[in-house]
């Protein structure tokens, strides 16, 4: 009888666990599925509501997805705060950092934006997106020397890339390094022949 009771208890625990997992998975999966459908229809508020039904602050996936959905619904502050939660949960992950830069760009927070790109580059030194946009931010600040460093890294890894050749050339030209700039404008023109900006840059080199 004792053995039968024990078996009954173990079976009950396993059954309970199985039901718990099934509910958990199906509810979560259902909520995510619902949010994808609403997102597809551009009903961002409804997509957020779908996830909020099962929201758990411990869930990295939910925080990441809410960061994205609030971004789409143009609520950049809230988007940033969900992405920040995801970053805190998985500090070694690149994806929430690549996510948070989107609301930060809209909030026009150049300092925080550069900090995030720096943190991405720390985790992934060859990240082309982070290097390119760090270069662009520095270029817009007229810090051409810093910009050059970021663009050079991409050109070294992807020497036939139009964007980085083009921006490296302009960074060099603005530092008075015409001869070097010419090489990169010409490289950009091989990728995009008759590109107006590269031709303009080349035209400024005597």
């Amino acid at each position: 009888m004792e053995i039968v009771k024990k078996i009954f208890v173990v079976s009950a625990i396993l059954f309970h666990a199985a039901v718990g997992i099934a509910q958990n998975v199906s509810n979560m999966e259902k909520a995510f599925n619902g949010s994808y459908n609403e997102e597809y229809l551009k009903n961002y508020e409804k997509a957020i509501a779908e996830l909020n039904k099962v929201y758990s602050s411990d869930s990295y996936e939910m925080n990441l997805r809410l960061g994205w959905l609030y971004y789409l619904s143009k609520n950049y502050e809230t988007s940033g705060s969900y992405y920040q939660k995801a970053i805190s949960q998985k500090p070694e992950a690149l994806e929430p950092r690549l996510g948070i830069v989107m609301p930060l760009a809209f909030l026009d927070d150049g300092t925080k934006l550069l900090q995030q790109y720096a943190s991405i580059i720390k985790l992934h030194p060859q990240n082309t997106i982070a290097n390119y946009w760090s270069g662009v931010i520095n270029y817009n600040k007229k810090d051409y020397k810093s910009a050059q460093k970021f663009f050079e890294k991409i050109v070294e890894l992807y020497p036939f890339d139009y964007d980085s050749n083009h921006m490296l050339a302009w960074s060099l030209l603005n530092q008075g390094k015409s001869a070097e700039a010419k090489t990169f404008f010409q490289a950009a023109l091989m990728v995009r022949p008759s590109d107006a900006s590269a031709l303009e840059g080349l035209g400024k080199i005597k």
Binding site: M28, E29, Y60
Partner: protein
């Protein structure tokens, strides 16, 4: 006389610059032609346009000839141009990624793996490279090795369907059903109802 000498030197420099500029113009013209011919699927003509101005020291021409020969189905020739591009710019990831195309078409998987390893030496966090290196090991049933590559993908991109899904199967094949279960569930959050992840999950007893 000094002035005349100076003028001659100056004219020579300008003439030389003009020649270089015109050479660069020829190069650009050749690239334009090759793009137009590629667009019209005239790959042999596109190759011929670049061969007219071919310079073995030009990384760009070698890279592009690697690509054009690849889409023209001439894989050994494609491989040889990509190799030249790699030799000219040893840190170039794009040339190595290019080289993988003819190697894959030739099913030279050992050589493909070697290229992936070369890329990872330069860029250890390269997500695509980690993923495809993992796939090659998975197909060879080398699950321990495959896990190493997929784990890197999952750590950097924890919501990525592909790496969660493949790491799930890799762990399942290593007998790590509980770990696999977590990954299949994560894959299902990215792709709800996904048949392969659901299948994997049902095998995690």
């Amino acid at each position: 006389m000094k002035t005349i000498n100076k003028i001659i030197i100056l004219v020579a420099i300008v003439f030389q610059s003009m020649t270089v500029f015109s050479q660069s113009g020829d190069l650009q013209k050749a690239f334009v032609e090759s793009y137009t011919q590629e667009y019209n699927k005239k790959y042999t003509e596109a190759i011929a346009s670049l061969v007219k101005v071919y310079n073995e020291k030009s990384y760009e021409i070698n890279l592009r000839l690697g690509w054009l020969n690849y889409i023209n189905g001439n894989y050994p020739q494609s491989q040889s141009y990509y190799q030249k591009a790699i030799n000219l710019k040893s840190y170039s990831i794009e040339a190595k990624l290019g080289m993988i195309k003819p190697l894959s078409a030739l099913e030279s998987w050992d050589k493909v793996l070697l290229q992936y390893e070369e890329i990872l030496k330069i860029d250890p966090q390269n997500a695509n490279t980690n993923y495809w290196a993992g796939i090659i090991y998975y197909n060879r049933k080398k699950y321990d090795a495959a896990a190493k590559y997929f784990e890197k993908g999952v750590n950097l991109y924890p919501f990525d369907y592909d790496s969660n899904h493949m790491l799930g199967w890799t762990y399942l094949n290593l007998g790590r059903a509980q770990d696999a279960k977590i990954l299949f569930k994560k894959a299902l959050l990215s792709h709800p109802g996904d048949a392969s992840a659901t299948d994997g999950l049902s095998k995690c007893k």
